[in-house]
């Protein structure tokens, strides 16, 4: 391989490498999101058991 070919392939490989790195970072983000959803469903379940009847949420203005 001449030096020119080495550099050209290096350029294309670098682009590929950066994209793969991006995908890896994105995968980490997805796993974090998944963990967060787990926590929230857990929170929701605990809350539903704690108060069977949902209390009113709106603050009315007392006349």
């Amino acid at each position: 391989m001449t030096s020119a070919e080495k550099y050209v392939t290096a350029a294309y490989l670098v682009v590929l490498g950066v994209l793969l790195a991006y995908l890896v970072i994105y995968a980490f983000k997805l796993s974090r999101l998944e963990r967060e959803v787990g926590e929230l469903t857990e929170l929701a379940r605990r809350r539903r058991e704690a108060e069977p009847t949902p209390e009113p949420d709106r603050e009315e203005v007392a006349p």
């Binding site: 020119a4 550099y7 682009v15 994209l19 991006y22 994105y26 997805l30």
Partner: protein
């Protein structure tokens, strides 16, 4: 857009990106003949310039979304502008890397101040890194969205202005290098390869943009859910 429609377009975008990238690579490496003067190393051109133009497109898209945020005050544009800037910076880094490799093959140096586009991308890279610094140091909320939008608008205005500045600086402050404008004397085959590669990088950017945007939307919705539960 309803989620099923959005999913289909995301899949379509990804498929288009894949096909175009494949076509671009095969054309760039096998089909197009060697350039008369430069020979094999000219093939970096088919990745360096499309990536650079895609980066400009991303910054332009971010500015467009920022303008709409300031115009219609709809808050979803902030995430879109933010993701587009993020895409622009990623492709900007790619441009800088492939550009310096090209400078290495053409002039034997990793960095040359004579190459206008490289210098412009360095300026833009500095500018948009400050964009992220701005976002991280302001509380999330309407105020941060509007400031980021204004800054993104400044960015897109800075591109032509600093290109003029770099051109003015040549010969006086920066060395002049025989700068063959890559896109003027292109043979037919080179042009088609270039266009395919450009379409490929655009499709790639659009596909990554859509995915990352969805990720950020899920992030925000989870935060609202957490707020509602606590």
């Amino acid at each position: 857009m309803s989620t099923s429609l959005r999913n289909n377009s995301a899949v379509a975008l990804a498929a288009a990106a894949f096909v175009l990238l494949l076509a671009g690579l095969t054309l760039a490496f096998y089909w197009v003949p060697n350039a008369p003067v430069e020979g094999f190393r000219q093939r970096i051109f088919y990745i360096h310039v499309p990536v650079a133009l895609t980066s400009y497109a991303c910054f332009g898209w971010a500015a467009w979304k920022a303008l709409r945020l300031l115009w219609t005050r709809e808050r979803r544009y902030d995430l879109e502008s933010y993701t587009a800037v993020h895409m622009g910076v990623i492709f900007g880094i790619l441009t800088l890397v492939t550009g310096s490799i090209w400078a290495r093959t053409s002039w034997g140096v990793w960095w040359s101040w004579g190459e206008r586009q490289l210098v412009l991308f360095l300026v833009l890279f500095l500018f948009y890194s400050a964009y992220f610094m701005l976002r991280y140091s302001v509380e999330p909320g309407p105020r941060r969205e509007r400031m980021s939008a204004v800054y993104a608008l400044f960015g897109v205005v800075l591109i032509p202005v600093s290109f003029m500045a770099i051109r003015l600086a040549e010969g006086l402050i920066h060395p002049v290098v025989f700068d063959r404008d890559p896109s003027d004397n292109l043979a037919a085959s080179q042009l088609t390869t270039f266009v395919v590669c450009f379409a490929a990088t655009l499709a790639l950017a659009a596909s990554l943009y859509v995915n990352e945007l969805t990720g950020k939307r899920v992030d925000e919705r989870l935060r609202e859910l957490r707020e509602a539960l606590t």
